[in-house]
């Protein structure tokens, strides 16, 4: 089975649609969303409804820290993120709030674990930023392959036979075989707010039979989303970074 994995949609409807269209072309049989459906972006209600629709058709969606904050959880966030959450809250319908509040922190499919942030403490929302934090996640789980989001920059980590962690920056379109005799952790790029210097929406596919992971990019009209952010009166920084991808 080919799983399409997307993360950090952040209320960016155009980016989400671009990824879903690409996943359909790639023949993904199952969709997993690693959380942060809302926050930062201009389309919280329509994106939440779209994701809820996918879940009703069998997709898996996890809770991210922005989703938790949008439904009232206490959160420590920077000013821009907090401002966006304050803007988001009144724009969610009751149905969307219920949907977001009901999302799980983790999900499993066979030997694969999905979680939004550091797997050793999913509700702590810590970032898997480097080999040391990846090691912490890898040692805490039994799964052979763990997928996380939260960081917005694609990265692959692997726990070696000598208990060291190797970091690999994936190349778009090049399948990485995840050999079964070692443990892997893949950090998804972001759909709705990439921070690796490329503004195109980032997503992954994972072939469970071949055990091959591929990172993809789908470009979309990020200038239009940026303009909607400005029109909504959200912080200018959120519009700018969609265009620069940083």
């Amino acid at each position: 089975m080919r799983i399409g994995i997307i993360s950090d949609v952040h209320a960016n409807a155009l980016a989400l649609e671009a990824c879903l269209a690409a996943l359909e072309r790639l023949d993904a049989g199952r969709i997993v969303i690693l959380g942060d459906v809302v926050g930062y972006g201009p389309d919280p209600e329509s994106v939440t409804q779209r994701v809820a629709g996918l879940v009703s058709q069998g997709a898996i969606c996890l809770m991210g820290n922005h989703d938790a904050a949008a439904v009232g959880a206490r959160a420590s966030m920077n000013g821009t993120a907090a401002a966006a959450i304050a803007w988001t809250k009144p724009r969610l319908s009751d149905g969307s709030r219920h949907f977001l509040a009901s999302l799980p922190l983790t999900a499993e499919l066979e030997d694969v674990l999905f979680v939004h942030a550091d797997a050793s403490n999913p509700a702590g929302w810590n970032y898997v930023l480097d080999a040391a934090t990846a090691m912490q996640s890898l040692l805490a789980v039994k799964a052979r392959v763990t997928f996380v989001g939260h960081v917005h920059r694609p990265q692959v980590y692997c726990l070696t036979a000598t208990a060291k962690v190797i970091a690999h920056t994936p190349v778009t379109g090049t399948a990485v075989p995840l050999s079964p005799q070692r443990q892997w952790l893949a950090v998804a790029g972001a759909v709705g707010q990439p921070r690796d210097g490329n503004p195109a929406a980032s997503f992954m596919t994972y072939d469970t039979a071949a055990r091959e992971l591929t990172f993809h990019r789908a470009t979309y009209d990020y200038e239009a989303t940026a303009q909607r952010i400005r029109d909504a009166g959200l912080p200018e920084r959120l519009a700018e970074r969609l265009i620069t991808g940083i």
């Binding site: 070696t160 000598t162 190349v171 990485v176 075989p177």
Partner: protein, 467 residues
């Protein structure tokens, strides 16, 4: 884990095990066949024992990852991988013949023969680098040949793939490679510089031409590190009849700083195939090792400062194209010539490591016997070469970056295409035929080249002359 107890006649995943061909320290090789295909294949099975160096396992894993992703005549065709949970193996095409290893009984060899081996080897390494793979273990026992002549690189157990996690990267303390051929940066644990393979080709050519290994065969890290500061005896000191061009090429490959070597194997191959065009520097005339104080000074420096950092991005590594300018001297207006030169300069300015090959086709006559000398008794070939150099002179391209070639052929387009194929040319720049009536009747050379070239083609045309 897996057991590597196999015997002739057994069937594994549809492969019938034939004869044991070789049993080595790291792996054994068996001849196998598939039910629906009588073509013999090769099955490589790693030696996995308790307490074995984990590097052997990781290296086999890397080979299983990299081999299925390689294409073309310079690698053995990959057929299947065996699961580590059951029995790890790799099945690949079985190449006829033997490796280059037995040839070491016949060294030293003449420079021309070594240059031919080196050029074929550089072609194979170029093909690998273009697929994002650095071999990192180039040595005679990993080199084979197809009946059609292509050099084939085998054994990808130490290779590095740009798009895949490098499991050997930080795993083990000792550097991986084969002592006589390992580049200085490889000794320092760097596995991501494609130019490490160029160093290994240089070691091999040095050894085959002199009969002596340039850095010996040290078995300890301390001995391996010597090559960072101790330069080898110049080949011509060992074998005075070696030509200066050969020493120039070999010592350039053996530069400690990767940035001073050839930027790509294609450029190395081009020099090996055009010895008369090799730009000779102080390297060519060197007849003694560096002096005591120079070596002492280098030895005192931190090793990291003696080597170059690997290129950070693939784009930097490969931005050393071979550009071929096909110049038709008989049919070129000054305007078009100027425009062609400006186009070439723009390309050369963007890629400081680019090489320019200026070509002219001396058309042979199909019917009459060709005269090498014209009416005045001048050699046509030499005359064309002089004219080509004069044509390129206004560009003021540094010597050593530009070479000139007169190709003698019946079909100009075909000879340009052939040159591009043989020399791994990345970009052909040529003028459109000025006379449009002629073009209609004869068909454009540029049209055929553009349609069939293995690389990019820029056809330069002067708007004013087209009416």
């Amino acid at each position: 884990m897996a057991k590597s107890r196999l015997e002739t006649g057994a069937v594994l995943d549809g492969f019938t095990i034939g004869q044991l061909i070789h049993r080595g320290g790291m792996a054994s090789l068996w001849e196998v066949t598939q039910a629906d295909d009588p073509t013999p294949c090769l099955m490589k099975i790693p030696v996995l024992q308790e307490g074995e160096d984990p590097a052997a396992i990781v290296s086999f894993e890397m080979e299983q990852m990299i081999m299925p992703r390689l294409r073309g005549p310079h690698v053995p065709r990959h057929i299947a991988n065996g699961d580590f949970a059951v029995q790890p193996y790799i099945v690949m095409e079985r190449l006829a013949g033997e490796t280059l290893l037995p040839q070491i009984d016949h060294v030293p060899m003449p420079a021309e023969k070594v240059a031919a081996i080196g050029a074929g080897l550089a072609d194979a390494v170029e093909a690998l680098h273009r697929q994002g793979v650095i071999h990192l273990d180039i040595k005679p026992s990993n080199i084979m040949f197809r009946p059609t002549g292509e050099t084939v690189l085998i054994d990808y157990g130490l290779a590095h793939h740009r798009g895949l996690p490098d499991l050997l990267q930080e795993e083990f303390r000792l550097p991986y490679g084969t002592a006589p051929y390992m580049a200085p940066e490889q000794v320092m644990g760097i596995r991501s510089d494609p130019r490490s393979d160029i160093f290994a080709i240089g070691c091999l050519m040095y050894f085959f031409a002199t009969g002596v290994r340039p850095f010996g065969d040290p078995q300890k890290l301390k001995g391996l590190k010597q090559r960072l500061w101790r330069d080898p005896v110049p080949p011509r000191k060992l074998k005075p009849d070696l030509p200066p061009w050969f020493q120039e090429i070999v010592l350039r490959c053996l530069e400690v700083k990767a940035g001073r070597r050839y930027p790509t194997p294609a450029q190395l191959a081009h020099d090996l195939r055009n010895p008369d065009q090799v730009q000779l520097t102080a390297r060519a005339g060197k007849l003694a090792k560096d002096g005591f104080f120079a070596v002492l000074k280098r030895k005192g420096e931190p090793p990291r400062s003696l080597i170059d950092r690997p290129p950070e991005r693939e784009a930097e590594a490969s931005d050393a194209p071979i550009v071929a300018a096909a110049i038709n001297l008989d049919d070129m207006t000054p305007d078009l010539a100027d425009k062609l030169r400006r186009t070439l300069l723009r390309i050369l300015e963007r890629s400081p490591d680019a090489r320019l090959a200026v070509l002219n086709v001396l058309k042979l006559n199909r019917i009459a016997m060709d005269q090498t000398l014209d009416e005045q008794g001048n050699n046509k070939h030499v005359q064309r070469l002089v004219e080509l150099k004069d044509w390129a002179r206004p560009m003021k391209v540094a010597q050593g970056r530009v070479t000139f070639h007169v190709l003698e052929a019946f079909d100009p387009a075909e000879s340009i295409l052939d040159y591009a194929r043989v020399n791994n040319v990345d970009h052909i720049v040529m003028g459109a035929r000025a006379n449009s009536t002629m073009r209609k009747i004869l068909g454009g050379v540029s049209g055929k080249v553009a349609a069939e070239a293995p690389c990019s083609v820029t056809v330069v045309r002067n708007r004013d002359t087209e009416s």
